[in-house]
Amino acid sequence: MSVEARGKLLVGAAIAASLALVLAYLAAGGSSYTPEKIQDPCQPRAWRNPEGLQEIAQQFTLSALDGAACQLGVSRETLARALATPRSRERFAKRYGIDDAELARAIRGGLVRAVDDAERAGALSPLLAAPLRATLRRIPLEQAIEIVRDAKSLLDNAQTFLGPAQGLLEQILP
């Protein structure tokens, strides 16, 4: 074989090997091996199996975070990390230029959205939802954050407190 023919063969083999590698990696998902995209907090998120207080509390917290994050124009994930400690909250406030009053309004709004979502999902009775909404609209910031952190206690207390009254009302009302 001449030097020229060997050269052509070499270049052809290089092209074939390179294309084979690139196409194989593309077929194996090379272009989509990226972190998963997070959801828009303003879009409704379906509740998964809202049965049992623990599960309802989980969904309630997520709905509250979604609602508050949507109002603040940040992601649910960013807000969750911001609410972890007073220091992280301070950093968040500085980075996004959000004061305590604005944060309180957003978290209260998020909690009300969580009550709405719970009611829509059939996880919370309308009779329990109405007074909860009214209460949540007025609570101070620190307490609102505490509820986001520990929604189970809120729901537990609300059911304990309103449970007997709820049963009575359900009997009276058509």
Binding site: V3, E4, G7, A14, E36, I38, T78, A80
Partner: protein, 456 residues
């Protein structure tokens, strides 16, 4: 007049390998350097860029100097400067001192290797053989550099890489003293100066482009392995050894495989193909880097030898044209690093943000206790603060693990899912840079094609 003493081939080849290994030897030490000297990825890149940039700028003037003062003297002085600067690098406590010492190392190195190319023909008997020895020694040094650097970094320290170079450089320089003494006594070389021909523009331009792609392959792959996939320097050294091993395979193909143009074109295509594979890694698996490394390794052996041969053969004086190829190669490395560093550091920052959001989403959507979720979110936040500007390692955020077996299992699963998001982010952060490097490799085909037209 007595015949000038001829130094043995081994110390000359060793000197070339030692100096050219320095272009890449610190690659695996960079993560440790940037942690110890408390700098950024972009800052520590200058430990590599400075050496290559000065080498690119100094190679041709150094070759002229070597020819005027005598190659024996120039090589001995160059190796002495290289050794002294190596000690300064090893003792540097600040990044600026390290970079300054690296610049000095490059000056000494440029003087030594261009002078050695002037000495080699007398030692090996022909210019053609001298070019082959010089190119092979340089390629071997450059290829082995990262692995040796990785081993020394992990077994001793990054400083040991430089401190060890000093006695080695002095050992390589001692046999040259006899030549230097002879030159001082006779001054023959000043009378032997020949007119310098024009450098081979297209071959040198192609060398620049392909070198920038190869440097990127090595530098980015090492950072991905150590910083992205959390391999130890030794582990990464073993993985990247695939590239020089493949290069040995490529070197065996030699001139029998085709004309210099065909080998250069095939090599550039293989380098680009391998980099394309690294840009499209479908998972964070070390094994998936092996095929791309095989292609880059075979490709670099083909293209570098073919282009160096084209740039040097039939051109006199050898030292000057060798200086041009050194200049072209190191300019390529520096340009590649300067172009790609801002791109991948920006990508790391963006991917870091996306990965943390994705990871937090995994935590929030998990079934662990809500209070534990927020505690984990807090620990993740704390880890992030400690790893600003770097690829995050999140594992410690999950420690200590909960004592309750059910919670523990949930948290372990969470950690795995979060780690997957981080692996995806780290791998994806390097994709654009590997892609751009592949493009640089393909661009080398333009001067290779133009060289064909011009030469014909």
């Amino acid at each position: 007049m007595s015949a000038p003493p001829r130094p043995r081939i081994a110390p000359l080849a060793f000197a070339v390998g030692l100096v050219l290994a320095d272009s890449s030897i610190v690659v695996l030490a960079l993560p440790q350097i940037y942690r110890e000297l408390d700098t950024s990825v972009a800052g520590v890149t200058w430990v590599l860029v400075s050496f290559n940039l000065v080498m690119a700028l100094a190679a041709v003037p150094a070759a002229h100097l070597a020819r005027r003062t005598g190659p024996g003297r120039a090589a001995a002085v160059g190796l002495a400067i290289f050794a002294g600067a190596g000690i300064a690098c090893g003792l540097a406590a600040e990044l600026s001192t390290l970079i300054a010492a690296r610049c000095l190392q490059a000056l000494g190195g440029a003087l030594a290797i261009t002078a050695v190319l002037e000495l080699l023909p007398a030692t090996v008997g022909s210019e053609r053989r001298a070019v082959a020895v010089w190119a092979t020694a340089g390629a071997t040094g450059a290829a082995l550099g990262p692995a040796v650097g990785g081993l020394l970094t992990e077994l001793v320290s990054w400083q040991s890489i430089f401190l060890l170079q000093a006695p080695l450089a002095i050992a390589a320089g001692i046999p040259l003293l006899a030549v230097a003494r002879h030159e001082a006594a006779t001054g023959v070389l000043a009378a032997e100066l020949r007119r310098t021909g024009r450098p081979h523009l297209w071959a040198n331009l192609a060398l620049t482009l392909v070198s920038s792609a190869i440097a990127a392959a090595l530098f980015l792959l090492v950072l991905l392995l150590i910083e992205g996939w959390r391999l130890s320097p030794i582990g990464a050294a073993i993985v990247v050894t695939a590239m020089p091993l493949a290069a040995l395979l490529g070197a065996r193909l030699g001139p029998r495989a085709g004309s210099a143009r065909a080998r250069a074109a095939a090599g550039a295509i293989l380098v680009a193909g391998g980099l394309g594979g690294l840009a499209l890694l479908p998972a964070a698996e070390v094994a998936l880097t092996l095929l791309p490394q095989l292609l880059v390794g075979v490709g670099l052996a083909l293209v570098l030898s073919a282009l160096t041969e084209t740039a040097l053969l039939g051109r006199a004086p050898q030292a000057i044209h060798g200086g041009w190829t050194i200049s072209a190669r190191h300019a390529g490395v520096a340009v590649g690093l300067i172009l790609l560093t801002p791109l991948f550091t920006a990508e790391i920052a963006e991917q870091r943000h996306d990965a943390i959001d994705a990871g937090t989403a995994v935590v929030l959507d998990s079934q662990v206790d809500p209070l534990l979720k927020l505690e984990l979110s807090q620990r993740i936040e704390e880890r992030l603060e400690g790893e600003r500007g770097k690829v995050p390692t999140i594992g410690p955020a999950f420690e200590p693990l909960p004592e309750d077996p059910e919670d523990r299992a949930d948290v372990l699963q969470l950690r795995e899912e979060l780690q997957d998001q981080l692996d995806r982010a780290a791998t994806h952060a390097f994709s654009s840079s590997f892609g751009l490097a592949a493009l640089l490799g393909l661009l080398a085909l333009v001067p290779i094609g133009l060289a064909r037209r011009v030469e014909l």
